[in-house]
Subunit: 383 residues, 2 copies
């Protein structure tokens, strides 16, 4: 039942492995669809499972504000509340506080902010972020880190103090996490006693800072580690370089999670650089905006050229949408504003992401990931 | 392949039967979910089939305006365009012209109106309504009738001229329908050579007018007949009385279709009065408004009393939603504005309707419909 990870195959820096949680095993490299408020937008759990999702992500910030982690804990935890029986990872809430909440004020203690829902004054500290996730009972909880605005981060100006504060917060998160495992803390219900906690490496685009962050975060001793603070506006080559620098320094016997990335080619490239876990809103958000991700790149369904196109979005795709519906029909639904357009495009985009990860894992088993990577880039274009 | 109908069981006026179409058989009494623009709102075809839908309805007015019946005909007809392989019934477009379009002008020739989408000037005549449906290639097409505003209709003031005009239009529809079967009409592509056409009985709440309408419409000789002009604001008892008066006068060897009805208890009561086919937006529209229809009546999911309710919407229901999700979770999704709430509530409501019809058919096989009817009313309340 306890958290575990084993690497079963490697090819260069790329790894295939298995992650064990109280809610089942997850094969890596893995992509985690984002279920912000306890549901991956526009798709039912059964369509999500049918598309091949084995682990989803929940957003602590959103669930804390509504319906509240107290309510979810009384329901027995997030799995039971939302009826999802497979593993769940929750973020710390920090990223949303920094991107969504109003009037935030950051001190050494934590972040004060106003809810984007009703303006209510709230606070998130390392301890509070840990408590909320204990109540949610996710299989993997994340430490609270300090997120710096993209422009500042890329410039490297705020990178050191944010990295250092993230290390201090990580230690407080870990201390609270261990405390919750061993003693009762008033007002906190631990709903998943097999929860693991990941630390987050920061340091912006400065490789020396990244190295320091890896060492100081790993010294604290989490079950595993994530690379945070990327895909926040920096050029994609810079992101790849930071990942190539950082991932191999992380403990080899633990999964490595690159947060918030990305486009399909990013997944391929970051697997090649040693990443095991990914999450991103891109496939689901783009679906709702009418963008299909295919082996050839992005297909904008509302384009007039698809008005009478009888082909499926992607002729090589095995998803429900591609097996049953034409671009012409999907365009009609999208233009008419039918919700079903969002559902069918989400089904395709997630299947495309999850199938890509399946093919990557298979290639890693046969030592043919390098070939898959070449072939992927031969057809895929960002335009 | 041709259209056919057989009654297999009767109990009082209630009938069980089978409807044959080029796209398969449909057991009656049947409820047809409304797929206005080529999709039943908020639900995929596979969820719809899983809920037990065997025939759906498409709206001629909406499909004619967008994406256009010409485009659909070029795609091979509505079935192929939308990827639905089971039977489809299309309405004539008249009801939507009378309820949605602006600046409509009714003459003996037909209706002139402006599109609710872009204000374009359009015309619908009996011939045009027949042509559009021939291009859509539905299994069952409806004759164009004159719809009178609810207040006028109930008062009986406009009932006779509207009924008489509907009879004249029905004859023109039938003439055009037969012409399309035997000769090529410029600009019209018949995409389903096994299409049937139903006439519509009008006459408001005046039983003498209804009797006259039945006789004059049946004299034209359609494959089957519908009762139109009910569920438009009249008291429910009046509706039941008009159905009880009208349905048994319709040819016994043809299915009888009550248009646009209704609440679950309406279905039970109108089956008892001899109706075989129903359609209504109620289960799908109410789902999107947060109303669940259950054996006990309407459950308004946003009510605070459900905030921590671990029970499914309806403990006796076997739908995907009731088997997996609590009222508390559905309430959370609805209040958060997640599209999935609309999907999950639609899945339940349609399953509830379709399962009710299944149970009615089963009861009719065993001569226990009278008992089912009593038991249904013992628990179901409109409040």
């Amino acid at each position: 039942m306890a958290f575990g990870f084993e690497v079963t195959h490697t090819e260069g820096q790329a790894r295939r492995g298995v992650l064990h949680t109280a809610h089942g095993a997850v094969e890596t490299p893995v992509f985690m669809p984002v279920g912000t408020r306890g549901a991956v937008k526009a798709i039912t759990h059964r369509d999500l499972e049918d598309a091949g999702a084995h682990i989803i992500l929940g957003n602590t910030y959103h669930l804390h504000l509504r319906p509240g982690d107290d309510l979810i804990a009384r329901a027995g935890g997030l799995h039971r509340f939302i009826g999802w029986t497979r593993p769940i990872l929750t973020d710390s809430g920090g990223y949303q506080v920094f991107s969504l909440a109003q009037m935030r004020k950051v001190t050494e203690d934590g972040v004060q902010f106003r809810s984007h829902l009703d303006g209510a004054l709230c606070a998130l500290t390392p301890e509070k972020a840990t408590d909320i996730q204990a109540q949610l009972g996710s299989d993997i909880a994340m430490a609270l880190d300090e997120c710096v605005a993209s422009g500042e981060r890329v410039a490297g100006r705020e990178a050191r103090p944010a990295m250092e504060r993230s290390v201090r917060w990580a230690l407080r998160c870990r201390t609270r996490f261990l405390q919750l495992q061993h003693e009762r803390v008033d007002g906190v219900t631990v709903t998943n006693c097999a929860q693991a906690q990941f630390g987050i490496v920061q340091g912006g685009t400065d490789t020396a800072l990244r190295t320091e962050s890896v060492q100081r975060t790993a010294d604290i001793g989490f079950e595993a580690y994530a690379i945070g603070g990327l895909s926040v506006g920096e050029p994609v080559d810079v992101m790849y370089d930071v990942v190539a620098h950082t991932a191999p320094q992380l403990p080899a016997d633990r999964p490595r999670y690159l947060m918030g990335t990305g486009m399909p080619d990013d997944l391929v490239e970051c697997v090649a650089r040693g990443v095991d876990m990914f999450d991103c809103v891109l496939p689901t958000r783009n679906a709702r905006n009418g963008q299909l991700l295919t082996a050839h790149g992005v297909l904008v369904i509302k384009n007039a050229r698809y008005a009478e196109d009888p082909l499926p979005p992607d002729a090589d795709c095995g998803c429900y949408t591609c097996r049953h519906f034409s671009r012409a029909y999907l365009r009609h639904l999208f233009i008419a504003g039918e919700m079903t357009a969002a559902t069918l495009l989400t089904v395709h985009n997630l299947y495309f992401y999850l199938d890509l990860m399946r093919r990557i894992r298979e290639a890693l088993s046969f030592g043919s990931f390098g070939k898959l990577r070449l072939e992927f880039h031969r057809t895929f274009s960002r335009r």
